[in-house]
Every structure is written in structure tokens, then in C-alpha cells.
Point group: C2
Chain length 480, copies 2
């Protein structure tokens, strides 16, 4: 795993480049300066990266290319396979030193053709369809659907208290996303348990189906899908999300009297399928065996194009390396882009990576993931201990010039979190969060929702921090 021949080539680049005279005149001398890690001024390097990304960045081109080649990338699907092939080619084109497909085994679930939540009582609304999406992983209903009375439940406590009333009914989990929370990620975290645990908890009490209010910050008619879980020994019941507008309508109906609905889904389960993480290395000049991971997930839901979730993260990660190559900023350590498979419904890629690279995780100096959309960068959140946190803050400080230099304790990324137990300091890219949960997991998550300038700023912010960590004389202090 030490890539010795390639490493020597990378190291030899330095003196060769030093012989090329720097161009003078109006054109910035990007690309013509030899790397001199010890002498680089951090702010000057950061400014060069941001300027290059703003002027000539290709993050949006990566994203547009991905969503054109593989708009639907659910694990196990032909789209996911197309995305893997796309990523391999893109890394090669960018000029990564090594590109590998690393195998993993993923679940292969399909939405199917029918998904319907149709009111059947009271008479005044009979036949009205509520816009819905099956939750990822849901079992199908019987053909023709399940027809039952609705019981609205807004907390686990309420479910426990009313469990005697649940048998034979469709549980409607209606706790809203708390819009008053300043962090939309906290709002999401406070409601998503209904999606992940709802089918299990409702079935334990004898429910025949589950409908949830979409876990979303916007009030509109786009339902939001997302993974739901089952548990061995508990009946698997079908589960769907309705749009927030539909949920507000259903809330009003339920408040007035008994409501019944018909839930029909024809989801299919195809068992396990082979797939891949796509891994590309930009080898370090001095310590190529020490690795900084830049992660994102290549899979996505089967609705919309996953432009923000997580096409933008993939674009960010690829662009980090393209920028460093373009600016001749190859750092001391290896920068490894990992485009993980199966974040959305299983984390198979993340687990495979942590398992297959177990013997080199002690040389993973840092890992960062971008999985919160392609919006204006604000900073980073991290699990780093006090010592590493202080270093990260110092390294990110030059990003204050674009108001993106904050580093605070917080969540990092579902994929890289598999490395936490090995003491790898982790970080999550933190963009402006106002719009993410309006688009997340919907038909609406398409390229036109991504601002090219915002995406370029984000790629630059990540590149600045990654370069600084990978090029620092000392490795980042590890977590204990």
C-alpha cells in the first residue's frame, strides 16, 4: 500500500518544475510555482486556492457531469454502477496518481411503480390522494393496499400510552421538524427518528402500516423519502412519507374525527448486490503513507438527482484534488478521495473501507466528509479532541476571509464515522443550512438548485483545510 514507484515520481516533480520560468504579465502565475511547503504562507495559499476556484473552478462541471451520467444512484441499481464508472473515469481525467474500485456488498431495494396514500374516510375526502414516497427499504403492501383507520402519534411516549389503540391501524407519525431551531440539522435530528424507527415501533404495537410527515424544513407538496429500518422478530409493515402540506391536511382531518386511508406500495427487494467505493490518491511528496481522507457518498436516492445529496459532496472532493494539482500544491501527505457507496441505506461502503483499511487507519491523519449540500461554506464541525481542535482552528483561520473559517465540535459524516473508533480526527464540511432540508431526498434535489459560485466556494474551503492538514509538518494529534 505504499505506492513506492509513484511516490518517487511525485517527489521528482519538484526540481523539474522549479526549472520552468514563471510567466510574467497579466495572467496570474497559477501552476508555475514550485511547491515549497516549509515557506508557504498559509493565508497566501488559501487565497490562491479560493481565487482559482472562483475563477476557473470545475466543481459544478463535475456535478453536472455526474447527474447527467447517473441521475439515480441508489445502491445496487444500474445507476449506481454507472456512477462508479463515471467516478473512476473522472478521477483518471483529473490526474489522480492511483484510482481503485474497492468492493463492497450493498442491499438492492427498488421503489416499484405504485406508491399511494389515499383517503377512504370521512366521506368528504374519500378518494383524495396525499402525495407520498415509499420509505427506502419498505416492504410492499398487499396488492390493492392496506385500508385501515389512522392513529396520529407525535412522540414515543404517546405511542406507549396509546399502544392499546394501535392494533390494526395505520400509525401516522406527525411530529414536525422544529423550524425554530437555528440549526436545520438539529431540526432534522429531532424528527428523523420517526422515519428510521417508526415502522418497528408501530409494528410492535400491532400497527399494519406507517405513514410519516416528511422530515423537511419546507411546507410544500414534495414528499421526502429516506431509509427506514426493520428488526428481526418484529413484523415488517409498509411505510411511506407524505408531503408536509399533505401532513398539515391530514392533521386537520384527524383533529375533527376518524380518518381512514389506503396505503399501497409495491416496493421490491432484490437481496444483496456487489458494488464499489471509488478511491483515488494524490500521493504525498514526503509521507505518502500518511493519509488525509476527503469523503462523500456516491450513492443517492432514486428520486431527484441527488444534486445536493450528495452529488455536491462528490464534486467538492474531486475538486479538492483538481485544485491542488492545478496549483502545484501537492502536499507532504497523501490526499485520498473516497466516494463511498451505500451511505443512504446501509453504510456498506463505509464499513468495507474501515475494515479493508484497518491496518493503515493508524496512518489516517484526518478524514473530512461533505454531505450537507453544496451551499455557501460557513465552516466545519469536528469530533477532534482539544489539541487537534486547536490546530484545526488555526489551519482554518485563513478561511475567515470568506467567512468560512469556523471549526466547532459537532457531527462529522456517516461514512467517515466508521473510522472514529481508530482515533482518526474527523470533520464535516458545514455549509449554510437554510435550504438543504427543503430539497433533501426529494424529486426537487436537482442541478438547478445548486449555485455554481456556492459550490466553488465550498470546494475551495475544503481544499484549504485539507491542504493545510496534509501539508503540516506534524500530523494532526489523534483522538484517544
Amino acid at each position: 500500500m505504499l505506492h513506492s514507484t509513484r511516490t518517487r515520481r511525485a517527489a521528482v516533480l519538484v526540481p523539474i518544475l522549479a526549472l520552468i520560468p514563471v510567466a510574467t504579465g497579466l495572467v496570474p502565475d497559477r501552476g508555475a510555482q514550485p511547491p515549497e511547503p516549509a515557506n508557504r504562507d498559509a493565508s497566501e495559499v488559501a487565497a490562491r486556492i479560493v481565487t482559482a476556484s472562483l475563477l476557473d473552478g470545475q466543481a459544478y462541471d463535475h456535478l453536472a457531469s455526474l447527474v447527467a451520467a447517473a441521475p439515480h444512484r441508489l445502491s445496487g441499481s444500474p445507476g449506481a454502477a454507472a456512477a462508479v464508472e463515471w467516478a473512476r473515469k473522472r478521477m483518471t481525467k483529473i490526474g489522480f496518481d492511483e484510482v481503485r474500485l474497492e468492493p463492497c456488498t450493498v442491499p438492492h431495494w427498488e421503489r416499484g411503480e405504485v406508491q399511494s396514500v389515499r383517503l377512504t374516510a370521512p366521506a368528504s375526502v374519500t378518494g383524495v390522494e396525499l402525495r407520498c414516497l415509499a420509505l427506502g427499504g419498505s416492504v410492499p403492501s398487499p396488492e390493492g393496499g392496506i385500508e385501515a383507520e389512522v392513529i396520529a402519534i407525535s412522540s414515543w411516549d404517546e405511542l406507549a400510552q396509546r399502544s392499546a389503540d394501535v392494533a390494526g391501524k395505520i400509525v401516522y407519525f406527525n411530529r414536525p421538524f422544529d423550524l425554530a431551531l437555528r440549526s436545520t440539522f438539529e431540526g432534522y435530528g429531532g424528527a428523523v427518528d420517526q422515519r428510521s424507527r417508526g415502522a418497528v415501533e408501530a409494528a410492535k404495537a400491532g400497527a399494519v402500516g406507517v405513514v410519516i410527515r416528511s422530515v423537511a424544513s419546507a411546507i410544500d407538496d414534495f414528499p421526502h423519502t429516506g431509509g427506514t429500518n426493520y428488526q428481526d422478530g418484529v413484523t415488517r409493515i409498509p411505510a411511506a412519507a407524505i408531503s408536509t402540506l399533505a401532513a398539515e391536511r391530514l392533521d386537520a382531518l384527524v383533529a375533527r374525527g376518524p380518518v381512514r386511508l389506503n396505503l399501497e406500495l409495491d416496493c421490491r427487494w432484490h437481496g444483496d448486490a456487489p458494488s464499489f467505493n471509488v478511491v483515488g490518491d494524490l500521493l504525498g511528496t514526503e509521507s505518502p503513507e500518511e493519509i488525509v481522507v476527503v469523503g462523500a457518498h456516491l450513492d443517492g436516492w432514486d428520486v431527484g438527482h441527488g444534486a445536493h445529496d450528495d452529488g455536491s459532496g462528490c464534486a467538492h472532493a474531486l475538486e479538492v484534488v483538481r485544485l491542488l494539482l492545478d496549483l502545484d500544491l501537492r502536499p507532504r501527505r497523501t490526499v485520498r478521495v473516497v466516494l463511498f457507496m451505500n451511505e443512504e441505506n446501509g453504510l456498506a461502503g463505509a464499513r468495507a473501507y474501515a475494515r479493508d483499511h484497518a491496518d493503515e487507519l493508524d496512518r489516517h491523519v484526518f478524514a473530512i466528509e461533505s454531505d450537507r449540500g453544496g451551499f455557501t461554506p460557513r465552516g466545519f464541525s469536528t469530533n477532534a479532541g482539544d489539541e487537534a481542535l486547536a490546530v484545526l482552528r488555526e489551519l482554518a483561520a485563513p478561511l475567515d476571509e470568506i467567512d468560512a473559517g469556523s471549526v466547532d465540535p459537532g457531527g462529522t459524516g456517516a461514512d467517515i464515522s466508521q473510522m472514529a473508533a481508530s482515533g482518526v480526527p474527523l470533520a464535516g464540511f458545514l455549509p449554510d443550512g437554510a435550504r438543504y432540508f427543503a430539497y433533501h431526498h426529494t424529486e426537487n434535489d436537482t442541478l438547478d438548485k445548486v449555485s455554481e459560485r456556492e459550490l466553488r466556494l465550498g470546494a475551495a474551503a475544503i481544499a484549504v483545510l485539507v491542504h493545510a492538514v496534509a501539508d503540516r509538518e506534524q500530523p494532526l494529534p489523534r483522538n484517544r
Copy 2:
């Protein structure tokens, strides 16, 4: 102008409200707390305003209603008149104490039906249309257009050096918006002179027409209009903007050899027309004669719906007062919303306001304008002197909880700037600037480009600062 009877009514509200018992239970007790200015904790007030806006804010409703009632609001047009009537009704519905239409005289220009920039040479591109919009205020071309050779000019120096070559030609001003600048407003400022001065400077050198590269941060096929100026004694020549994609194509053609094009516009000029600023007061409890202005402009271009420019600013301003009323946070001083007419092509409303209120400008304690779009708030820019700047920073500090508390010297707002000479401290609302100049003055500036959450956050940020200034024991130190 002292509104004495109304003032007394407002002051009397306090003891009456104090008798109403505060509701207990799940519903927040918004609206039930009597105002106690001296005891309010600034952070608590700010948090209440932000929470109310995030949970139940109506900024987006104001905006949706405006663009439905008056999508095209160019000064002098029936749409602008509809917007005035809409604003008057909306202020009344919100519960402003006084609502007035204050007259001003505006120019009435119409785009007309024909606007075309068509290549006529070289032969390989003859007949190709470049997407364009007439610049606001442009004279028409003769019917059938003006056909002439193109001369590309990227600076005033170049125009001066090549002035002998300009006669009889169409000048193509092609200096790009500098994407590398961190502030897109600086990028705009560095290119917009081509739009405002181009027709005059080109005509002085004998040009027969002007085409400019759209002053825009995005590379796409939406041309951006905007006002152009003429000068007495200089021939008025027709002027249009082409999209940035069209500009890049034209740049490539011009680099290869002579290019000719046909510029046809049938703009019409209808002289002056009567119109109005719409002004609404929320009277202060203690010093109603002291005024804090919250401004935005009600007019907009005739393309797109002016959702960001400046429908969002109008929504912000209205929502400031609605929030303060809803939360029973009526401040000591009067908060006056001024929706100015004719910001885009004349500033007639701004001049009328400064003229007609000249005798009370010494009691205008502060004026703030929102005219940079409805994006996530980042802070404010101000012309305030050191003393007032320090106070504004202290008052805005509670907005750090939503990363919107910065106050820095900088531009404020075109309308309120008419009050600068009177020493009124001014500020401009400063949202995230990444997307504004992608939509500004285009068909693309529509409601779907505005995020409800971003708009609510912005309204809350302005409301917090306005409330703090209007409710402060001492007035803000004036500028000298």
C-alpha cells in the same frame, strides 16, 4: 407631521394589554407580554424575534402576494400602480398605525416588443441571434435596426486610445464581472460602469450603438438589463445587454476577425408619470416624533418578477413591523417603512422623500435599506461614524446566534442615501451574496429562487436591529 392623536392611542395600549392574563400551556405566550423597554434583555428579545419569524413568519407570504399582484413593477407602468395599491392594502392589513401614499414623479419607459442583437458577419455566423435585453432607458433603433461593425472595448482607457476607430461602429463593452472578488457587490461595482456610462462614452466617440456583456456573476444565457444614462448634448444611441454566454461567443468571434451585427430595439419613452412612495408608520410609545426608517424599493424591472430585487426587501420591511406588532415589541420611537418608487431608473421616490421630509430629517435617527436580495443574513454595512458604528455593533451582537451580527463600514442603499447629507446614520442589510448577481435584473428573478427560511431569517435580523435602535434610550449618534 407629529401624528399626535395616534401617538396617544399607541401609548395607551400598554396598560390595557397588561391587564390581559398570559396564556399558559403549549402555545408560546407571544403577544401577551406588555412592553417593558427598560428591562428587556437584548438577547432575549432577539431570540424571540428570530423564533417567531422562523416558526410563523410571513415574509414569504408578503412576497408571494406582491409578485402575484404586481409581477412587473417598472416605474410608470400599470404594474407599478398595482404594486402601490397592493402595498397600501398590505400595510393596512398588517396594522400599521398610519399608511400614506406620498407622491413623486417618475420616468415612464417601455421596453417595447422588439429587442434583437443579430450577427451579420462573418458569414459563418450570419443570422445568429445573441440573447439580449434593451438597457433600461435606451432609445430605440431605427426600424430594421442598426447594422455596423463591432469594436470590442474593455476599459475606458482602451476606448480613449482607440477612439479614432469607433466612429460608425457598435461598441461592445466586454469587461467581465470579476468573479475572483470575494464580494459579488464589488464584482458588480467593477463592471456596472459599462452599463451606466457606456452609451454616453461610446457616443462621444461617434459610435452608433452599444452592446454590453451582462453585468452578472453567472455564465448562462439570461441577459441582465439595468439602467443606462444619457447626457444632454451627446447623441443618444441604442444600448442592449447580451447574456454572458453570448458575450463569450462574441469575444471568441471578435478575436478571430471583423464581426458585424444588427441591433434593433423599439423601446418607447412616455415622459413623466405620477407615482408614489408607500409609507407606513408604527408609532413609537415614547418619542414618536423620532423616526427609524426601514426602506426597500417597490419598483422593479419589467423582466422576471423582481422577487429578489427588491420584492424581498419589501417583504423584509413589512415583516419587521408585523413581527414587532405580533410580539408586542412596539419600540419607543416610530418605525417607518418606506417602499420607495423608482430606485431602478431615477431615484425619484428617494429624492421626493428626502425633499418632502426635509424638516424632520434631523429626527430621523437611523435608516436601513434591504436591496441585496432575500438570502441568508450575514450582517449589515453602514456609513455610520465611529461612535454610531460601535453602538450598532453592540445592538447587532445578539444576531451572532444566527451568524448575522456583523456590522462593517460599507455601502447602504440607493434610496436612503438621499438622507446621508442630513447626517442620518444609514445601514444596508447584507445577506449572503453568492447568488444575487445570477438573478438580478433577469427573467430568472422569480419567487422559486427565494428560500422561505432564508427570507424569514433576513426579516428577523433586520427586525432585531431596527427594534434595538428604535427602542434604545438614547438616539443613535448622528453622522457629521
